[in-house]
Symmetry: C3
Subunit: 312 residues, 3 copies
């Protein structure tokens, strides 16, 4: 996996200089079976130091693979490589990210991706899931967009807000059909708390940080902090078009334009278009939420849709 | 229900231009029985577009009544009307709010009110409740007070903080008596997280988003995000005067004056006044937390106490 | 206990003017048995009004000892004293803090300390604990460092972030050994939410606000708001060096320098040093997390490590 200076576009003309893994934001999906032995070779093609921390992994008897500069390893310098070996344990919704200058590299430079580990012994509930989606939530302060090596200060005031690196309306709808059992894996990858609300359905907060809740919580809104993961599961029993959005309403803007940011729409199959539907003419790009990759089973998934323009 | 340009007063001389429902902030209480069919005719008397989203309602087979502009309906234009029909389902603590330019209309223009649905099959715990209060939590940035059509940006820094549209000490105390079983329905209607602490009592976090928790949580502080609702229930077994306040202490100011904002006092019946008690001379206005309306049972409740000055 | 103008150092040369209890930030540990009768004499040696609120105590039939100025007592004026009597009830992780101008005194002037009450009937899980640590989380805005009587406004932008009053790398490591059962008592004493992540272990969120959760939650990250307490318990089964840090990455800076703030390292006994380990040459000061005092049992614990320079 290469770390590369990469320009991505959040929405409209808002570009951002990132240090993307394989030129992608989010980084490639790593999807493994519980207990798999995994090797990842990382080549640092940027001018900054980096590492990779595998957030949520136990790293049993393997702490020098935890990816923290100055604590578990020396940082990977520009032009250098490092090889991570680890066991895929525990199962669940994990993620990975750089652990050097995290306030900039994680918060503003797109250095994160999903790490999903399929359990040997799934819960009864998760066995019923028919559609599985990953949503990574982030914020961006436009004043640092073209200033790599700067930013991520406590005084920052992010003005762009994304799901999987894109803001509404340039995200994709979540397409399901009546009868589906839907799993939404939320991952807090940024610096802010988000309060995610789904219209028209109560959901079960079924997993936190990859682990099943002993006592799942029925809700229509879930507060998620940086580093946390919540897996929401609900029965698709209510055909229509339903918003999914951050109820921190200042996160539903693009710069100073309202009705953008962290919003998308659940579209049930068979609902006719309406002339006033904002995403009615939207070009649909499947797998934006990794739903097709997750269906295929374990593997390493690069994704065209998340590729930016690599800066040579 | 009319949407009207309305000037309200948060505290002292801090006025705010709102787009209030029936000239009230919070908007009228809609209190229904589970399963009721409800019709609400909305007349937009302002110069901006609006809709109403009924937050938490299932809207089963009724998605075009969900109130999202460009997704479930066209916005209601100035001078136009729209009629919402829906079934009161599920039971619990819900709310309603505009879904147009939510970063301004919900966060700064007071377009929200409570929607309480009485369950057909209440839990054993809620059957014991003797006093029922609704607290809607909001923030306001004074620089947009007289600039309708502006504000609600991610760079905003709210400097006023209210319960049901009023800041301490212009809120009302919560009056109870020993032996009461008290229910406090918290509704996060703004843009910020709040950390609500009650003195002198542990409470049960009994309901989230209107639904009973299978495993209620004992606590003295609860973190609530925008869009979330928590119903707290406790036994009134400790006569005295007890603070209820946001433990995010910068939310307990009025502008730059300390000891304001999101604070109130639980007053037990029979506690004698003290000369130094800040609310000792306070004119008591019952029903500020809808406790009298909730006692009367289902209905549509306008409230004088929340009326602002309608701007013609 | 004396309230004294005291200069402390957060990290590097960042000093801060506090109104410290006994010249210490955090304030002395009060560790009691459930049901103990406690008397605390408070002498206000500063030029400002103060009180002490005992956060989480029931204060049954004792509300005038709750420490809220203008509600339960008159503020303690400069040069005056006040005596608090109360019963140590309920058991658990509590804390105490000033309740005058809390937005400044609690958020910026270090007026808080831990109050731990040992239960008569501990849970089976807590009986297994072998190492017990207290971590109090705070933020500081450097622009008010030398301006006592000012600050704590909603527009503040804190730029220093501390555990027990110190920022990384000037905190202490958390030293444990394989086989320990570790309890981490998190206390949110400031104005911000924190998202605390522990590497290499899942933990049980076992207690909230001092009370055991009926259904403990397995997690690797916990979101904690101001005033809340979470007790995390985990088995030390994975020797190594493991980060503990706020995943709100902008809280892991010192001013504008990355990799500081709310971070520390769990060090297992027997792990050899590495030349690149940032805390490898660190002078170890035991009891920074009160682990030695907690082992000794109930008492009132002043701590040299938290002493600042008293300003005469």
């Amino acid at each position: 996996m290469n770390i590369q200076d990469t320009e991505i576009t959040l929405v409209n003309n808002q570009k951002y200089h990132t240090f993307a893994f394989n030129g992608q934001v989010p980084a490639p999906l790593i999807y493994a079976d519980e207990g798999d032995d995994i090797t990842v070779v990382v080549n640092n093609l940027t001018a900054m130091n980096h590492t990779i921390h595998w957030h949520g992994l136990f790293q049993k008897n393997n702490w020098k693979m935890d990816g923290v500069p100055g604590v578990t390893q020396e940082a990977i310098k520009p032009g250098e490589s490092f090889t991570y070996h680890f066991k895929a344990e525990p199962a669940g919704t994990l993620w990975y990210h750089c652990h050097v200058n995290t306030n900039e590299h994680v918060d503003l430079r797109g250095m994160w991706g999903p790490l999903i580990i399929r359990p040997k012994h799934p819960t009864a509930l998760e066995k019923t899931v028919t559609k599985d989606f990953i949503l990574m939530l982030s914020e961006w302060d436009s004043k640092w967009a073209d200033k790599p090596g700067s930013g991520g200060l406590p005084t920052d005031q992010p003005d762009y807000f994304t799901i999987n690196g894109k803001s509404y309306p340039e995200v994709q709808p979540i397409r399901i059909k009546e009868g589906d059992v839907v799993r939404i894996r939320l991952i807090g990858t940024g610096d802010k708390v988000h309060s995610i609300h789904i219209h028209g359905h109560d959901f079960l907060i079924a997993f936190k940080d990859g682990q099943p809740l002993k006592s799942p919580i029925v809700a229509d809104t879930v507060l998620i902090g940086p580093g946390e993961r919540y897996d929401l599961i609900f029965k698709a029993d209510n055909p229509g078009r339903w918003m999914v959005h951050d109820h921190i309403e200042s996160h539903t803007v693009n710069g100073n334009q309202p009705m953008g940011g962290i919003m998308t729409v659940i579209e049930y199959e068979g609902i006719p278009n309406d002339p006033w539907y904002e995403l009615g003419d939207h070009k649909f790009v499947p797998n934006f939420y990794y739903e097709e990759s997750l269906k295929k089973g374990p593997g390493f998934y690069n994704a065209d849709v998340f590729h930016g323009k690599v800066i040579e």
